[in-house]
Every structure is written in C-alpha cells, then in structure tokens.
Symmetry: C2
Subunit: 313 residues, 2 copies
Amino acid sequence: MSAAAPFANVAVIGLGLIGGSVGLAVREAMPDVRVTGWDADAGVREVAAKRGLAHAVPDSIDDAVANADLVVLCVPVRAMGSAAAMMAGKLKPECVVSDVGSCKVSVAEAIATALPGQTVVPAHPVAGTEHSGPEAGFATLFRNRWCIITPCEQSDVASTERVITFWRELGATVETMAPDHHDLVLAVTSHVPHLIAYTIVGTASDLEDVTRSEVIKYSAGGFRDFTRIAASDPTMWRDVFLSNKDAVLEILQRFSEDLTALQRAIRWGKGDALFDHFAKTREIRRSIIEEGQDDARPDFGRSDHLGDAAPED
Amino acid sequence: MSAAAPFANVAVIGLGLIGGSVGLAVREAMPDVRVTGWDADAGVREVAAKRGLAHAVPDSIDDAVANADLVVLCVPVRAMGSAAAMMAGKLKPECVVSDVGSCKVSVAEAIATALPGQTVVPAHPVAGTEHSGPEAGFATLFRNRWCIITPCEQSDVASTERVITFWRELGATVETMAPDHHDLVLAVTSHVPHLIAYTIVGTASDLEDVTRSEVIKYSAGGFRDFTRIAASDPTMWRDVFLSNKDAVLEILQRFSEDLTALQRAIRWGKGDALFDHFAKTREIRRSIIEEGQDDARPDFGRSDHLGDAAPED
C-alpha cells in the first residue's frame, strides 16, 4: 500500500459509469490498493472483469466486501438502501461505507438504517458523462472535478479525513457540505437542468406540425445542447428526482415563475425586460469559464470534431 | 469572377458574428467576388476593416450597396426593416436583397415593405456560436451547416436559384421551406431552447439559499450546458422572441404542460412515468449523432481541452 492510500482494500458495488471509473482510478492512482467489484447484473460483472475495472469481480457480494476497508456504493440512489442491506453482518467492523449518490439526505438515511453501527461517510463526485454502463468508465473521470463529502450522524472525523484523502488521490478537489444544503445546490446545478432538458426534448419529439426529422436536422440551433444531458441514464435520474423531491420541486417552482415572467414580456412586447435579463445571464457564463468549469472555445470546441464549423443560432 | 459565383458584387450590412463570417467566407470561397461591408457602428467598421471582413468598409451605406448584385442583411431581425429602408433608391434595379434572420415571416414583410419592387430572397443559415461582434466571425462557420431559404412574394425562381448557389459555395447544405413553417421549426429547435436556457440561468443566479459561487463551482452537473446558449447576443435574441412571438408562445405552452406532467409525476412518486419519459429522449440524441449534427464523444469532447476528465452528474 502506497504511503498516501487511506484504505488497503476497496470494494466497489455497482459497476456502471461511476463505479467502473472508481475502480480504474483507484488502480491507476493507488496501485498497491486491492480493488474488488460487484454488480447485481452478471453481464455487467463479466464486462467489468474483462475491462479490469477491479482486480477481482466475484459472483457473490459477500466475497466482494468481506475484506474491505472501504465500500463505495455506486448504484442508483434508490437502490443504495437495499445494496447496503445485502452487506449487513458481512463487513469488517472497522470498514467505512461510502457512496457516490447525487442526493445525500435520503441516501445517508438509507445506508445508516441498513447498517446500524457501521461508519458511514457519504460522498458525491460531481462528475460523469451522458454515457452509462460498464463500458463507459475511465480512470481520469474525477480528475480536477469537485467531490462533495457530506458527513452525517454515522460519520467520525478520522474516517471523514480518510475518505477525503481517498478522493484527493483520485484527482478530485474535495469540499464538505451539510447534506441538505448539498441537495439544494445540486437541485439547481444538476437535477432541475436535467429535468428541463428531458422535458423540452420530449416536447419537441411529440409535435404534430414539426417532424422529428426536422427537429434532428436543425438541432444545431440550440436544441442539441439539451439532448446531451437528456441522454443520461434513465434509472439513475428517475431515482434522483424521487429522492430529492422537495428541493427539485422548490427550484422548479422558481423556474416556472421566471419563465412565466419572460413569457409575459414576450406577449406584451416588453423588449427592454427581455434584453436586461439576457444581458445578465452572460455574466454567469463568463464566471464559469474563469473558474475552469467549462471550455471557452465557441460551441465547446466540438465543431472541430464534426469536421468543420461551429453551429448554432 | 469564378465560374460558380452567382453574384459579382456582394454587400454585407451588419458586421457581427454572422455578417463577418459571410464576408470572410465569400472572400475564401469566391476570391473573384468583390465584397463591401457596412455597419451602423463606426467602431465595428474599424475592426471589420482591420480584420478584412470585406474588401472595403466605407463609412456610408450608400457607397457600400451602390454597386451590389446581392445585399445580405446581417442585422438583428427587428432592425432589418430600417436597414432595408436606408437603401431605398440606392440599389441597382436588378440587385437581389437577402438576409440571415432567424425569423422569416416578419423579416420578409419588413424588407418587402421597405423596398417595394426589389427582388427579395430571405435566407437563414442555421449556424453561429455563443460569441458575437466583429471579432467573432470565421470563414468556415457555414460549412456543413444547414441554410434554409424561404422564398416570399418578392422572390423569383431565377434569383432564388442564385441565392441557393451562393450558400452552397459557402459550404452550406440548402433547404427551402415556407416562411411560417420555418418559424415554427426554429421555435422548437432554437428559440424556445434559448428562452429556457436564459430562464434557468437567471433563476439560478437569483436564489437566496444557494450562492452564485456554488452555482458556478458545481455547474459541471449539467447547468453549464445551458449557460453556453444563455451567453448569446442579447439584442439578437430579444428581437427573435418579439418577432416570432406566436410560434414561441405556442411551443412554450406545450413545454409548460409537459413540465407540469413531469412535476406531478415527481410529486406523486410515479417512477415508471419518469423512467419511460427519460428512456424515450435518449433516442433523439442517438439520431442527432447519426445525422452528424453533434459530437458523439462524451461531454462534447470538451473535457480534453479542460485539461482532464469529462464532468457532469
């Protein structure tokens, strides 16, 4: 075990995009750490073994977690409780249980209920792509991305520090936050944007007067930016919305009020109100680019890859 | 004049992102064509002359259009009528007037009213970036992008063919469409997505419980995809919404109904309804990628440029 590695044996439960990336990243960053992996789906376990997402991918979850010093739950947020329940009585007493869920209040509760007495340190790496499954992960997914740790009642200071070190070793920048504040911040920056993208993509594909082929053809006008996040894993996102219901509904309500105001400005021909709103939102983009959270090149730079120009309008 | 060039003298009025790109693209694709440019803003004319967006950028619009065989109006859609009015009586009788506006019904009417008797062939290159101004244009902007031609009452077949050839020479793939159908299609694929992006970015920046710095920090969760199009030119977009009011309000109404349905599914815990909706929208993304309208790499491939990983979640 390398000097910096905070856990000698790590078990990753759930081997999709995030779990697979955790396995690969641990193997790359902490070569002396032993990684076991498990997934409820035998087909996923097979791909995971072939891709080397872990040193070993046993058929039984008991074998996967028996020797673990850290278990990282990488299943959809509504499956966290039952995944944790499967390990009850199988973990070493000193084993730390963590997860990667996008909602922290409900997940911490579910894990704590399933594993009373076990140390639990919830975490959320704010990283991912629109792809999913055991083929989608890669070792550098967390590098230079944020990872938010949300200590709960079953966390202790020393274990929290070890989980922080673990994520730093994977390349992430770590921040700690109260679980309920995390859920509100993520409702704004991630959950509601996803719901809106899912909605508009659905609306566009259900129109009678505009064909689906027209929507696809002229998507470079802005629409296609939404389709990327609306292509994310449906199970994961169903669970996120059900688990972070209150914060999501609260932010959606604000969004609807703001949309109604702009709608009225259009109906009444209030050009100044529209202009003022549109000028303000430019600032946010500028800050995101200054903070290194996005690509400053026009059109995300993707056009180079499309062969040529930079679409939109 | 090269064999293929359909117009010997082209005047570009308005030298922002699109006008500047038209100038540069004509100079590159049709080197024998003479391009003159004009902008109402003296500072823009100065930059345009320095960047060589046209062969000549005279101070007077009269000088810019006097010898033109084609005038391309590249001003915000609500300024089209007054820009056209400035040329009344200054154009050669056989000069064809075109434009690049994102709304076609209102623009065709405005130009036709300002220039009775002149041949008018409206066009809309579905291309652009979130950047604007005379520094933003580049010669390859229209390459492999769609350009929609919407013939109107003042169009004739021969002039329409010449405008089609003009855009093909600039690298675009040309489609013709009725003006009102264009406005509906673009409301879906471009105008409403922009309004929604402007709205959510505004909502996020106005919350009391979540700081602006948190929004920016964790924007890789999905939010930052919206900020790109919400950074587009405010004047252009104010005009688009006021000029395509009916189609925009109609599509917004559909969107609001769909959002309400998903909101209710979340409130009532209807996981299956959410899952079914989210699974469906994946298809659209797949088709857009198959049609070559977007980059298939995870996260638009932008992460390579950010130094490392592929964020989101």
